[in-house]
């Protein structure tokens, strides 16, 4: 974990509301693991006050990529960055996906901008079988960047299966074969909750990257609790997560 002043290299539009920013941050890039995130100060002033957390989307050499949707003031400012601008970045933060476990097939489940951490993860899964399920409200929210072997769902049916990405998983579950199957998911907590249910019923192991409001991003504010499943306590999303084994938490 370190604080790095990173130079912006490019900001590219991807789809209607999604942006991909590339920054030069050799220190963080050399340490990052898939599923970890960075906490980014989007301005040099006190406005907005807090940093904004973003998953590490890709690492290429000394460069980091973040993929983000414009939500509010923080992401708007980030979307307006130009080549040469400086960003103050804390990272890499949190615990990423555990790929050290045994598995043969990875099922990726991404909801909307929840696609962000997967290009990095997939770059580490070159030797595995991979199936990607990508969901969104409608076609405009479908992000397949860096994915392969893709199945799509949209709530309104404008692209692929009509329904949620978890309903899609249910539908195509006979494809989840090929040795030991491991789910990796990221998206709104409601989606993760439904997916956890699906995985429990079908006996799939599932890692989820969760979201929470955050102030610090590294464990000092206690602002990001996630109820533990087996103990009367909260984990911290920023420090104990953002990736959890779905069965360890109450979504």
């Amino acid at each position: 974990m370190l604080t790095e002043i990173a130079e912006v290299v490019t900001v590219k539009k991807y789809g209607s509301n999604t942006n991909l920013i590339k920054v030069h941050a050799p220190g963080i890039a050399s340490k990052a693991e898939p599923g970890q995130f960075c906490n980014i100060k989007v301005s040099e002033t006190n406005f907005p006050l807090l940093r904004r957390p973003f998953s590490i989307c890709e690492v290429k050499g000394e460069h980091l990529f973040f993929m983000f949707d414009i939500q509010g003031e923080g992401t708007s400012i980030l979307g307006c960055k130009k080549k040469g601008d400086k960003l103050n970045i804390l990272g890499p933060l949190g615990n990423g996906f555990n790929t050290g476990i045994e598995f043969d097939t990875a099922v990726i489940v991404a909801g909307g901008i929840g696609a962000a951490p997967f290009p990095f993860l997939l770059s580490r899964l070159k030797k595995k079988k991979v199936i990607c399920l990508v969901g969104g409200r409608s076609e405009a929210q479908i992000i397949t960047y860096g994915m392969k072997n893709i199945y799509i769902s949209t709530d309104d049916g404008s692209n692929g299966f009509k329904g949620t990405v978890v309903q899609l998983a249910e539908r195509i579950k006979d494809k989840f074969t090929g040795g030991k199957v491991q789910f990796f998911a990221c998206g709104p907590n409601a989606m993760l909750k439904a997916l956890k249910q699906f995985c429990m019923e079908n006996n799939f192991s599932c890692q989820v990257s969760t979201e929470s409001a955050m102030a610090c991003g590294f464990g000092i504010c206690q602002g990001c609790p996630m109820p533990a499943a087996n103990e009367e306590k909260y984990y911290l999303v920023c420090k104990d997560g953002p990736v959890f084994n779905a069965k360890d938490i109450i979504l």
Binding site: L49, C221, Q222, P225
Partner: protein, 305 residues
């Protein structure tokens, strides 16, 4: 090194410089030490400790506001025993002054915590949080009731020989009345301010953005209020003050010291810039050089009204 002396005293407590990290915004020191050199910091005020562990409030606990943030952590903490076993060992190695903040739901609990923790050599002083706005069964009533604050002060005073600092609530008409009482009950210093009570609503769900309904407002938004409270105490009561509230840079720290603070605590800024403490300490040195003074303590309460 420059010849500037940054030492200050809070009653009998000597600090190598006036920059402390505020309770609840530095945990127990370990996480932030990855981003900053704690041995350079004047002091660390640990997260409020209660006798038993506290789970804290359910999410959502924090929300950003304009120039500030609301929090309702609910004093999540590991409890006295675990604090001694697993947190103190790290703090011992840090080479900074450790001030232990205590929050409790009864006078007895305050006393009990103090009695146990005063045995720990690593702890150099106590900051008694009588003002956390987010705990339903404790804090609030105490903090707004002068005689309760007086009683807690007197009883805690009786339980330790170490310096006792009472952390006051800003959510009262006259904070200086509270400073007077705690002084008369033997407190060595006061710290001001804790957070202001605030809230925010989601206009689509009509629910409070924070599960606890209200939270404590911190950050630069509250700085003018905090400064006015420090000034009010300084003009009315002869007691050392630790100034807190919205400090983001060394200029803010200087403002608090001019307004009457003998030291300052950094809160929210630690989340944004975990190295802020050291930057502020460096800024204080430069300030002394610029205004041509040798000792930072000369600026304490140097206001020209």
């Amino acid at each position: 090194m420059s010849g500037i002396n940054l030492k200050v005293k809070i009653g009998s407590l000597e600090l190598k410089n006036p920059v402390l990290l505020a309770s609840g915004t530095v945990g127990y020191g370990n996480e932030i030490s990855q981003f900053t050199d704690l041995s350079k910091i004047g002091g660390i005020v640990t997260k409020s400790i209660s006798l038993k562990p506290r789970k804290g409030n359910p999410p959502q606990r924090i929300v950003e506001t304009h120039g500030g943030m609301l929090n309702a952590i609910g004093l999540a903490n590991v409890g006295v025993e675990e604090f001694i076993n697993s947190k103190i060992p790290f703090l011992k190695e840090v080479n900074s002054t450790v001030i232990c903040n205590i929050a409790a739901s009864s006078v007895e609990e305050y006393v009990e915590c103090t009695r146990i923790l005063t045995e720990e050599d690593a702890i150099k002083a106590f900051e008694i949080n009588v003002s956390c706005p987010n705990v339903k069964d404790g804090g609030l009533e105490f903090g707004h009731n002068p005689s309760a604050v007086g009683t807690i002060t007197g009883r805690v005073r009786g339980a330790t020989n170490k310096p006792v600092i009472i952390k006051l609530s800003p959510n009262v008409s006259r904070i200086s009345d509270f400073a007077k009482i705690v002084k008369s009950e033997g407190a060595d210093a006061v710290s001001a301010i804790n957070t202001l009570v605030g809230t925010a609503f989601n206009i689509w769900t009509k629910k409070p953005k924070i599960k606890n309904i209200t939270g404590g407002l911190s950050g630069p938004a509250i700085k003018p209020v905090a400064l006015a409270k420090v000034l009010e105490i300084s003009r009315n009561v002869d007691i050392p003050i630790i100034g807190i509230g919205g400090i983001m840079n060394w200029q803010d720290a200087v403002e608090f010291m001019i307004a009457g603070a003998a030291a300052v605590e950094l809160g929210t800024v630690n989340f944004v810039n975990p190295n802020a403490g050291i930057e502020i300490i460096n800024g204080l040195t430069e300030y002394c050089e610029k205004i041509n003074i040798k000792e930072i303590k000369e600026i304490i309460a140097s206001y020209q009204l």
